[in-house]
Subunit: 174 residues, 2 copies
């Protein structure tokens, strides 16, 4: 299916800013599983382009995009702080346009992120939070060796105002 | 003891920026318990003054300073995201100059933060991470009703390069 679709996964560059912002607004509306809501990333194109350049050069940050027919349909990132004391901790985030759920994009991108972390030697812990009800995502992370370290009470809120439990999951990188 | 010292606890204003930066650099050197290292906050005075003005106006963010003889000797904060989905989650951070450890400043400031959160009605979950070895801080948080939700393997790294366990603690606000 991936080959049929001709999806290319590559690192984001500053020129992707406009496409990424457009995608983030759609995704923020489509799913309640993410922190980001319909306002999207809350950035303008110039700010994001500037951030993408910095990410591209960073040894412990990465943003991947999945591109289909020149459109970005998914992103996957590892974000880490510049501090020496926590610079080895990378937070994983994956967003896929709803139309492309269930075709293995999450699997492909997470695999890439883990390879990148293992090759870099800077990131030694990957972590993420995921709503407990997001079973598809929880299974994906478990498949790639993430373990649940705790459950956050009121870790998120649905658009209806209901508090939701959230898992904190992590995977060591050695 | 607090009265002898004449410590005033109040909300930070933009004019405090220079003092806060000076304090943050000392604290980053003094203690390995914080994420912030000897580089301090990595901001200039103007940027921080601008952020302090925004914090002052925010319904779900606060920064308290403890002032002794016109010098800032401790800070305590609750930081929250603007997103609707996690805007009810406040991250607690407390920093006290080493010279003033053990005289109850942490207790006074944490009490203030909890009162502020309860009065505001926006924050419904307070959370924090704390190195497991920082027993003084862990006791303080427990005394104020924080419970451990999980232990983060490699949640921090000492200046010697050793990985440290970190607790994720939280307290609901109702």
């Amino acid at each position: 299916m991936d080959e049929e679709l001709n999806v290319v996964i590559r690192e984001a560059i500053p020129d992707d800013a406009e496409e990424i912002l457009a995608m983030s607004k759609i995704i923020g509306q489509e799913t309640e599983f993410l922190v980001m809501d319909e306002k999207g990333m809350g950035l303008d194109v110039e700010d994001l382009a500037y951030q993408l350049a910095a990410l591209y050069d960073s040894p412990n940050n990465i943003l991947l995009v999945a591109v289909l027919d020149a459109a970005i349909i998914a992103t996957a990132s590892v974000r880490a702080d510049s501090s020496r004391r926590i610079g080895h901790i990378g937070e994983v985030g994956i967003s896929v346009l709803q139309e492309y759920w269930g075709i293995g994009l999450g699997t492909m991108m997470l695999e890439e992120l883990i390879h990148w972390a293992e090759a870099g030697g800077v990131i030694r812990r990957l972590e993420l939070t995921v709503q407990c009800r997001n079973e598809r995502a929880v299974s994906l992370y478990k498949k790639f060796g993430f373990a649940t370290e705790g459950t956050l009470a009121r870790g998120a809120r649905s658009d209806g105002g209901e508090f939701l439990d959230v898992y904190l999951m992590s995977r060591m990188i050695d």
